[in-house]
Every structure is written in structure tokens, then in C-alpha cells.
Symmetry: D2
Subunit: 403 residues, 4 copies
């Protein structure tokens, strides 16, 4: 069957008989990521946005709700009320998107988990490992679907890379180099009232990690997602290059990974000329892969001893995982919103499956979840400890198999 997106097979599986009802906490006017979630959720017509608590400021919350045509009676001033009211409605939301600053994730997630509402939550998961592990426990207890929006795992060519590693095309992985370089905080935007900069450089809102948490966890997840390896230990240098900045705006780490692999992770918000430079390189016994978020529709594949190839989204020869994440023919560009849409489409599939009594396995589907979130926080904490110990090696006790 071909679905409305024109894909023979598509993310999220067959179309359901109704759109899922989505609520949103955070993401009102002026918030960048809220609109992204809303666009992505609606992209494949699997969700409709019907309820929201879009701002901690009530007036902004209501105005923002109007923008999305959310009915006034489903526009809430606080998330607790929303969770309670929606859980009580016959037509209550099926899932909630949580797109608030990091420090609020834990409480909001708890409120909705406690009311048996599936969750799509932005990253990083929490600001402490304890909170993260509590969420892991609650998700396990409730059996709910909990998707963490490590967006980049939604790119078709990232899924292709993952499938190639899983299929053994690279042989044993030796090296994993991942970097996420930006330059938007090379200027002291937080001193100029920039809303995004303000909370992301505020330890109260963002947590103890700055750059390392905000984008370092994305880089970590990308590396883990593609290679299937876990980081066992890190030596980290975290820095705040701008005078007076309270959180790190640059991080560089050496990593030891499972299976004897090694690698590096760079994250920066002050690297002039880098817009959103998320790049992954993986080298194994039998070949190497390179992917760049700024050219996301291609994947460089260098099989040992052969000419390097450029694999292209839409190629008929790609893996099933890549093909089902694809909407357009090769050559037309898909980007960040489409990748985000794939996360939501797959989330819809998982939520439907759960509601029909299934036990969807996010790992199998290729969806990042609460455990990935906890591993990210453990990574941040290890990096911070290493930094406090002048870059000494720190083991990460937490890894997928051990939670």
C-alpha cells in the first residue's frame, strides 16, 4: 500500500483510522522548537494538535493556542491542570509533546506519565541523572511510549548508516568521530536579551551542562545510534570561552567505546563559520562512513580498497530503514523538519501499537527513548566530572545494557 506521503512503505506503518490527538507543553510564540514539533507532528497527518499549555505566561499561552486553532477550553495555564483535564476527557490527548526548558522536563513528564499519557519529550532528558533514572523507572512501570527527540536519528541517511553498520558492512568498528559545531553563541547573546541564549546559558534552566548537554548529547546519540556502541569512558575539556558565561560553550572529549573502539566528540557554540555542523565519521575494518547534517541527503561510503561512493536518499538500493524514512525522490532535498517528522510518524506507530496491546520496541523501530536520555545525562555528568578533575578519564557506569 502507498500512503498519503507517496511512500510504498512508510514510517509509522499503515495509516490509522484517525489522527492521534496531541497536546503540547511549551512552544508558544517566540519559541523556536515548539513550532518545529507542531510542524513535524502534523507532517504526515498522523497527529492533530488539540490541546496545549504553550507558555508559562498565560496570556502568551492563550494567544499561541489561537495560532494553532486550539479550542479555548483546551488551552491551559499550567501543565498539571492540563494533564488532569485531558486525562479526564473522553477525547483527551493521546500523547503530549514536552518542549520546555530542561529543568522542567522531569516534573512535566511525571505528570503525564502518571496519567498514562504517552510522551514525546525534547532533549536533554533532565538536568540530573537521578531525575533521568526516575523517568526510566516510571516509563518501565507504566509501559508507556516515551520518545526523546534526538532529531538527527530521523534522517534517512543516518538510518542507512545505522543499517549498514548493523549489517556488518563496516566490520568491527574502530573509530567514531562525531562533532557538533555551531557559532551562534560566539557573541554574548545572553547579555542582549536573546531568549534562546538566556535559558541555555543559565544553570538553573539548562542544568549543569551547557554546550555539552544542549548539543553534545545530540552528537553522542548520533554516534551511539549509528554504531550501536556505548561510550565507556571519557576524558573531557569543557570551557566557557566568553567572559562571564556560566555554562560551557565548548567541549572536546576523547572516548573509549565498547568493542575496543575509540573516538572523539567535539561540541562548540563558538566555532565561527559553523552553523549547525553535526558531522559523524565511522571507520571500521572494512570501510568508512561520513555524514554531515548540512548535506543530509547523502552519505559517503568508502569500502576498503574501492573508490568512495556517494549514497543518496532515495536510491533503490538503500536499506528498508532508510527507504521508509523517505518522502521524496532522490535529488530533491529533505531536511530537518522531515527528519523530525519521521520521529513523530514512528512515534505515532508506536503509540498506536501500544494502544492495540502491543509492546513496541523503540530500539527496533529506531526511535530514541528514555533510556537514551538517561545515557545522555550520564555522559554529561561524566564529562563534568572529568573537567573538574582536569581532564582525567572518567568511567561511565551507565549504558544501555546496564540500566
Amino acid at each position: 500500500m502507498t500512503g498519503p506521503s507517496g511512500r510504498p512503505e512508510q514510517a509509522g506503518g499503515a495509516m490509522p483510522n484517525r489522527r492521534l490527538r496531541l497536546g503540547m507543553v511549551g512552544g508558544g510564540r517566540g519559541a523556536f522548537i515548539g513550532a518545529v514539533h507542531a510542524l513535524a507532528a502534523r507532517m504526515d497527518n498522523r497527529f492533530e494538535l488539540v490541546a496545549g499549555c504553550l507558555s508559562s505566561d498565560p496570556a502568551r499561552a492563550r494567544a499561541s493556542a489561537q495560532d494553532w486553532f486550539i479550542a479555548p477550553d483546551r488551552t491551559y495555564d499550567d501543565f498539571q491542570t492540563m494533564a488532569q483535564a485531558e486525562a479526564a476527557r473522553a477525547d483527551g490527548i493521546d500523547a503530549v509533546a514536552i518542549v520546555t526548558p530542561n529543568d522542567t522536563h522531569h516534573a512535566i513528564c511525571r505528570a503525564f506519565l502518571d496519567r498514562k499519557i504517552d510522551i514525546v519529550c525534547d532533549k536533554p532528558l533532565t538536568t540530573t541523572l537521578d531525575d533521568a533514572l526516575d523517568l526510566v523507572a516510571q516509563v518501565r512501570r507504566t509501559g508507556l511510549v516515551f520518545v526523546l527527540t534526538h532529531t538527527y536519528s530521523g534522517f534517512p541517511m543516518v538510518r542507512q548508516a545505522r543499517a549498514m553498520v548493523a549489517a556488518g558492512e563496516l566490520g568491527a568498528i574502530r573509530l567514531v568521530h562525531v562533532e557538533f559545531l555551531q557559532d551562534w553563541l560566539a557573541a554574548p547573546l545572553e547579555d542582549q536579551g536573546d531568549k534562546q541564549a538566556l535559558w541555555r546559558t543559565d544553570p538553573q534552566r539548562a542544568g549543569p551542562g551547557g554546550c555539552i548537554a544542549d548539543i553534545g548529547t545530540h552528537a553522542l546519540h548520533l554516534a551511539r545510534y549509528v554504531t550501536g556502541l556505548e561510550v565507556e569512558a571519557v576524558a573531557a575539556q569543557l570551557r566557557s570561552f566568553l567572559p562571564g558565561r556560566r555554562l560551557d560553550d565548548n567541549a572536546q572529549l576523547l572516548m573509549r567505546l565498547t568493542g575496543g573502539a575509540e573516538g572523539t566528540l567535539l561540541a562548540s557554540q563558538v566555532a565561527h563559520g559553523n552553523e549547525c555542523g553535526l558531522r559523524l565519521r565511522v571507520y571500521g575494518e572494512r570501510g568508512g562512513l561520513a555524514w554531515d547534517q548540512e548535506r543530509p541527503n547523502h552519505l559517503c561510503w568508502a569500502p576498503a580498497g574501492c573508490a568512495a561512493q556517494t549514497l543518496s536518499r532515495g536510491d533503490a538500493s538503500l536499506s528498508a530503514a532508510a527507504r521508509r524514512a523517505t518522502r521524496l525522490p532522490r535529488g530533491l532535498t529533505e531536511g530537518y523538519l522531515e527528519a523530525f517528522g519521521n520521529i513523530y510518524a514512528d512515534a505515532a506507530g508506536a503509540i498506536l501499537s501500544r494502544r492495540q496491546g502491543g509492546r513496541p520496541d523503540l530500539e527496533d523501530i529506531g526511535l530514541p527513548g528514555v533510556v537514551d536520555g538517561a545515557i545522555g545525562i550520564a555522559f554529561v555528568e561524566a564529562a563534568l566530572r572529568s573537567q573538574q578533575d582536569r581532564g582525567a578519564w572518567v568511567e561511565i557506569s551507565l549504558a544501555a545494557g546496564r540500566i
Copy 2:
């Protein structure tokens, strides 16, 4: 005001108090472009898809309508019935998207124009210039909004290029080289039952031009859109390289443009290694611009005597036209669907304006319309005449100012 997409200014202007109701003709299961229109129309939450005649096959039409949650009573078996019924409803569609093969555009457009329903129509406009000019006349007569989806004009960096030319940053334009190279028809897919290939290589469905009409008109529009120049004469070679293929699969043209400029246009469906290679280069007295659809978020700008610069979607210094077509921060990739979404968002703005008594000027808004469509068909006919005359120069009598 910031709208739901997070943009301070945004395509289509301020949000209306309701979504526009969209119908669609064509685009059912298995059709690539229908899903694209639907995604694009819904992207910024300005349209909802409420009615459709999604296939000439009634069973497919109904099944496809279910995919989009279109109510059974608004699922139509033929477009005439749909036009009549929707025009009669109080909650009838505000606009219709026409995404059928080329040979049907004229009749369908007439049906909806006659019932005062605004139109978003796929390209090329028609299969004959007479039909095209008839639509121009009807649009003028009715005052309706008629948008032609030359998608590439929706890319932010294309709009940036247009703004730079219009602002005189390049000085007088000297050279315009545009090419649209693909390779998907290098194999005889029409002999293998491929639905897209079948109708596009069939003169009955596609019209007398193959490649020249299907993608040559896109290339032409891109060149005209950015430079504001018209093609006055062409010398063309059209070829069908595959044995037995009835329409051209390759075209190459020399062009004379208004203002003393010259240029070339290449279009191919058999150029191995080109996926969707739409590339524009414009050279003026004071600098040169280059844009590539496969890297759409950047624009190469070479001011005379200075180092070449890479302008990036999202840069604060870009033109208003580029900024309002932008959803994401720089570095995150927007692609084809977002460009398409910009066309629809702007179409929504124009339709709302017309309904409120305004007379929206598509040229000002930066939207391709019915006149652009007619110019495209005149270009195709000139190319065909040149080919019949072994590549001799042929004047194009039709240009924007002369229709």
C-alpha cells in the same frame, strides 16, 4: 508578531482566524506530487484538506480520500461534480489544488474558475498555448488567485537571489545559465510500467514537449524569477535519446534575453549521475550568483573583485523576502517541501487578501501565476519550432509585459 512557525515575519502574512479549506484533484495513492501538495498545503497550518477527487479511478479516489481523512460526502468521482458540489456548499472549498497530468489542467481549471474557486495548479500549465492563453483570460476575467507551483521559487535563497538582482547588486545582467539535469529516464521506465514515466513520455498526456516541458519550464521560470528578464529568442536542440521514446528526454538551448543578456538552458532526463540537478548561475556587471537545488540553503555570491561569499539561509543580513520564507535557524536544512510550503503559505495570504477585497499582485508577492505558465508554454512551443527547423533561432512573441 511571531506566528506558529516561529518566524517573526512569515510567508502569507499574519495568521487568519481559520484554516482555508482546500480541495484536491488528482494526487491519490501512487501519485508522487499529490502527497507533496497536501504536505505543503498543511505545513503552516493555513489549509486543511477537506474535499477531493483524488483519482480518475473511483475506488482509488475513495481509498485515497480515507488516507487524508476526507469525509465520504466530499469524496468525488469526477472534478465537474466536485466543482459544482463544493461551490454549492456553505462550507465549500476556498481553493483547489490541481495535480493531474498536463492534458487535463485546462478543463479542470476552467471548471473551478467558472465557479469562482481559487486555484493552485501544478506545472506545466497546459499542453497548448491556446489553452494557456484561455486560462490567462479567464483568470483576468474572474480576478481569482491562480498560483502555478514552480516550486523552486519558494526556496529562501532563490528569493534572496531575486532580491539581490532587483536591488541592483549585480548591476546589469549579462549571462544566465540554468540547467535541470536528471537521470531517472536514462532507463526506459515507460516500458517497465512505471506510472510516472508512462504519462510523462506520452504525448497524449504530457503534450508535445517532454523533458522541455516537464523540467525545462521549471528551469526557465527559475531564470526569469531571479533575473526578471524574459527570453526573447531561442535556438534549441531537443532529442529523444532512448529508442522508441516519443518525447524529448534532453534539451539544450541558446537564449537571447531582454536587456541584452544571453544564456543557456539545459534540461535532461538522461544525464547519469544527476538526480535533480537544478542549478542557476547569473553573472552581471558587478558580481555573480550561483544556486544549486541540491544544496538549497546556500547561495554563492561573488562580488566583483572580492572573495566569494557563501550566503546562508537564516543569516540576519538577508533580504526580507528570504527571511520571511525561512522557518529554521541557519545551518538546519530546509528542503523541497518547505519551499513548496512557502508557495502554499503565500497562496493562502493572497487568497485571504482577495476574499477581503484586495487585489493581490502575485508578482509582488513572488508567486508564480498563470502568466508565468503561459510564458512557459510559449517557450516550449518555440523550442519545438526551433528543433523542427534544425536548431534555427525562433523568437518568442509572448512575454510578461506583452500578454
Copy 3:
């Protein structure tokens, strides 16, 4: 055997028992191309520069000769004296490099041909077809080696492309697009006393073709060299965009080639942002090739239906023709001088072979010669005739097999 350049096989074959003695006409201080010839000739230690008439200005000629450690008694004030004197010496030059402006090539070539001295001459061959054909006749009469420095044929990856086409890897060639875009004459340098600009825009020195002769012939030769096809007819637009400039600074042509292929040729000196943009694309039945002079160590190869590959200079799997033109391991960059050096190394091989009684076939060796030069001039003349006839198609009577 490995020669001094470290190549197991190398251009020019085994090292001779002495360096060939080279003279040079033109190329003194201030001339760009003279130094290039001297560097290239000396690169592989097959030539030593021992005599010269390096400038038409005697003082400059002598000073320039000192720069190259040329003995005073072999420093000449005019080329006739040089030809005569060197021919009379027991240790006279084996070959002469002619690097003067175009209008002088014919007379100088005749002087040295008449004295049985092999020639390496810069392009374009002459300023008229009659002169060119006279040189063809003289070369045939004398049996001398006459190499025309269409430098780009010396690049290893160009030779690889040629070998792939010859081996049938692309199947029948359908399309040949070649362009040579520069921007150095976008400013009126000839009005500012720039020596290079002065003679290249002067019909007395350069001949009737400007850009079309200066770099258009390079582009033509590259296309012919790689594909083995001849241009049968052209439709050309030549322009001089700068006010008062007497020769064309821009050219664009449609081409019909042998074997039913088609193509385009662009040449410009006013395309802002293009430094030395010589780019060739060849599309055949079975695949496509793309090469760019600014990234000369790689060749893009798109076999039909497969992922595109990046072939790299130094790959063990390349053709013998590419490998023998290679000095460095893959990844290290070779450039223009090395390509030029390959022409000279092969010229040395041919000259030695001739002196040992052989009849070296430049076509087999992959060296451009006098016939290529004449074809270039015929092409320029056809383009000029087409331009005079407002872009009408003009047949080229002259092609390799027909001279």
C-alpha cells in the same frame, strides 16, 4: 623499472642517457607562460633550457636568459638567428618551446621546422586557418614532432576519463558539456596597462577570436580529447561585454558532434566568481563522467543505476594512461604544473623516439599536436562565422580524419 620520479611506469618512458636541450622563444621576465613552460620542461629532468630568445626586447631577453643561467652566446635577439645558430651547433637544441603571442606562432614555427628542430608550441596554433594548415603540411613533410600545449590533457584524471571512454565504459556518448569560465577580464585590464590583457584583447596579436580562441580552444580540445568525438557544426553567440573591447570576452555554443552526440561549450572571461573554471561533463549510454580543473585529482563517475563514485588520482585501479601521468600517492595534490610536466615528459619521449628512427604517434601517446591545433582554429572560424550570421548553424569542414 622505477624512474627518478618514483613512478614504476612514467610519462615519456625510460630515462634517456642525456637531457634534451631545449630552447625557448618568448617567455621572458613578466611573461606568465614562459616560466610555466620552463618549469614543466625541467620537472622530470628530461630537458635542460640552454638557449633562448626570451623577449622581443633585447635587454629584457638577455636579463631573462641570465635568470635561467643561459649562456650569453646562446641568448638571441631574434628567433631567425636563433634557429640558424642552434641548427648549426653540434650541441644545438633538440627542441624549441614557442611561447609568444598567437600572431607570431606561424613564422616562428616555420623557422624551426625548416631547420629540423622539434617544436613544443603554445596554443592557439595560429590566427588563421590557412596558417594552421600550412603548419600541418610542414610537420607532415618534415616528420618532426610538434606538440601543442593543451595543458589540460596532461592531467592524470583527464587521461583516465579518456581511457574510460575509449574502453567503452560509458557506451555511446550522448552529451558533452564543457565550459571554461574565468572572470579576470571582467574589469577592463587592457585599459590599465596589464600586459596579458593587452595582447589578448588586441586582434593584431591574438587574432580574430578573443575568449573563444584563448580558452575556448582549450575547452574544445578537452572535450575532443576525452570523447574522441569531433564537432561537426556549431551555433555560436560571441560577445564583448565590456565597452570598447575589440574581441569577444564571452562565447556560448551549441554543438553537434560525430556519432550523433550533442553538447554545449561555454567560454567566458567575465563570469564573476570563476577563476579557472574548466569543467567537462560527458554522458553516455552507460554512465556519466565529470571533471573540474579546480579539483583535478578526482573524477566523478556515475555508472548507470549505481551510486556515484569518486575516482582518485593514484588509485591502483586506474588506467595505465592515468597511472603513468602520476607522480605522487593519492591524496597529495598534483596540479597544473604537473599536468604541463606530463606534456613535456611525453614530448621528450616522442622526440627521443623520432631521433632513434621511430615514428611516434601523438594520438596514441595522448599528446595534442598540430592537427589538434588546426581543428581548434577551424572551430574558432566557424564560431566567428556563426556569430556574424546571428547564431546560425555553421558546419566545420575540418576534423581529424579529414585533414
Copy 4:
């Protein structure tokens, strides 16, 4: 004055009244780097190769000497004899190029230093820091010119980057990321008799460092050369990924640099798809620079808050240091041999200056010397110590100002 290379200003200064006489130790048939040195030394006509001890195998030494037309009486079987004989000749060599495996550098350098012969030596300088410091002392004692061929410092755009940092265009440097990734040793070539692989993986010939010494020192020097910063401490992971390989084939390091900068260094011989991937990125307060050896004619410059620029070798606006290292107009490609030639041309200038009683300052000229070599060895030793201590941080006591 314009020299023979056509450069108004050129590396090495004005042409001398004779070519310098060069001898070579090592570099006979089958050796890659010997031919490179010979080509580079001869490129600008400042050296002639007149004596050699080109192989430790006498027959090979003599055959190789014939390839270069070296007179039999200046073809030596051992370097001691050569040093002694050449020092005794009135027309003895002015300088010697030492291109043997690492373990022999110290003894050979001593032999020629003791006889007051200037030296151009390949890297790494020695296999132990003691040997390196001994050479530093001897060079200081004798006042001779000692150039170490860290080739990449000869690239014009590397010199441009250095000049920009020195001029303060980047402000204070914050981050320095350098990598040198190759894949040629991803296969066990040493087990297949490959000569280059054999000695480079043999601790007796190469010293205790493998990849870290062979290419890691190149990367280190490039970073130091451009930024003017010294590495103060490293945390290193060195690995030998291939079973049985005795020296590291991969290295990754965190670095603390002077001035509060940080950075990373990657070196690998097993990273599939990387041919000669030497890439440097430098981020300062006011902008960022990126250079890639595989595209050496360009430099990416991202000034804070502005569009990124592509600076091009040959641009008139470049620094004097870049311009004098340039032979060709912009757009034509110069590569590795030209960079190497710049080292030799500058070495010639320094040697001439010394012979005329000057005291040439290699640092000012931009030439790598014996102190750079010693710093490289100190870096290798620190990396090895860190590796032995499981990646712990190790301070480097040795830096330019402290030797």
C-alpha cells in the same frame, strides 16, 4: 624584478648568480620521497643535484645516480665518504638533502654539520629526543642552515592563514583542531613486502612512534605554524588496530596550548576513505579559518558575524607571505610539489644569505627548522608516555621559547 617563475616577488628572494649545488642521501629508485625532494629542489632553478649517496645498496645507489645524471665520481656508497669528499672539493655541494629512514637522520646530519654543509632534512627529525636536542645544539654551534621539510608549511594558503593569525585577524585563538587521516595502512602492507610500509611500521627504523611520528608531527607542525601557539600538554590514545603491527597506526589527542587555547589532533593510517586528509581548523575570538590539504588553493575564512568567504591562492588581496609562495594565477591549481618547492626556494635564500654573512631567521622566513623538529619529537614522546599511562595528561617541557 620578476624572476623566472614569473612572480614579482618570490620565495627565496632575488635569483643568485649560480645554482646551489645539492647532494642527496637516500632517495634512490623505489623511494617515493627522494624524487619529491629532487623535483622540489630543482623546481625554481635554484639548486642542481650534483652528488648523491642515494641508497644503502651500492648498485642501486649508482643506478639511481645515473637517473639524475650525477657524475660517477660524485656517486658515493656511504654518507661519511660523501660528506668528506664533498667538503674537500672546491665545487663541493652547498647543501645536502637527507631523505633516509628516521633512525639514520641523526648520524647523517652530524656528518654534514661537522663539515659545515647546510642541511635540508626530512621529518621526523630523529627517533629520540636526545638525538634531536643534540642536533639543535650542533646547528646552533655551527650557525648552519637546517631546514626540516614539514612540507605543508610551504602551501601559499597555509602561509596566508599564518599571516592572518599573526596580524590578529582572528583575535585570540581559542580552538585548534588538526587532523591527518589516511587509509593506506588499513591493509597489512608490511606483510606484503611494501617498502614504505615495512620501515614505517618497524620500531628499529621509524622509532617508537608510528603514525604519531610519521604524520602526527606534520599535523602538529601545521597547527603550530599557523597559530604560533605551543602545545603544553596532551592526553593521548595511540593504537595499533592491525593485528601484529608493532607501531601505532592511529592516534587521537586532546591538547592544551599556550594562551589558553585548546584543541585536538587526530592522526590515522586506517581511516578508510581518507587519502591524505590533512585538515586544520582554527577558531579565534573574531573568526575562524579552515584549510584542507586536498583543496589546498583555497582557505575558508569566516569572520565573526559575516558570511563565510573563500580566499583563493592568487588573490591580489592576500598577504605578502602567501603571494611570494605563489607561481600561478588564481584558479590554476598548485599542489604538493609546489609547496615543497617553496620550502626549497626559501632554503636556497637562507643558504645564500648565510654564505654572504647573514644570519637568516627561519622563523621569520616561515621555514621549519631543527627546533621545530625537536618539538615534534618531544610531542611524540609525550604522546607515548600518555598512552603508557592510559591516556593521562602529560606536560611537554619543550617548546620553542624554552629550548
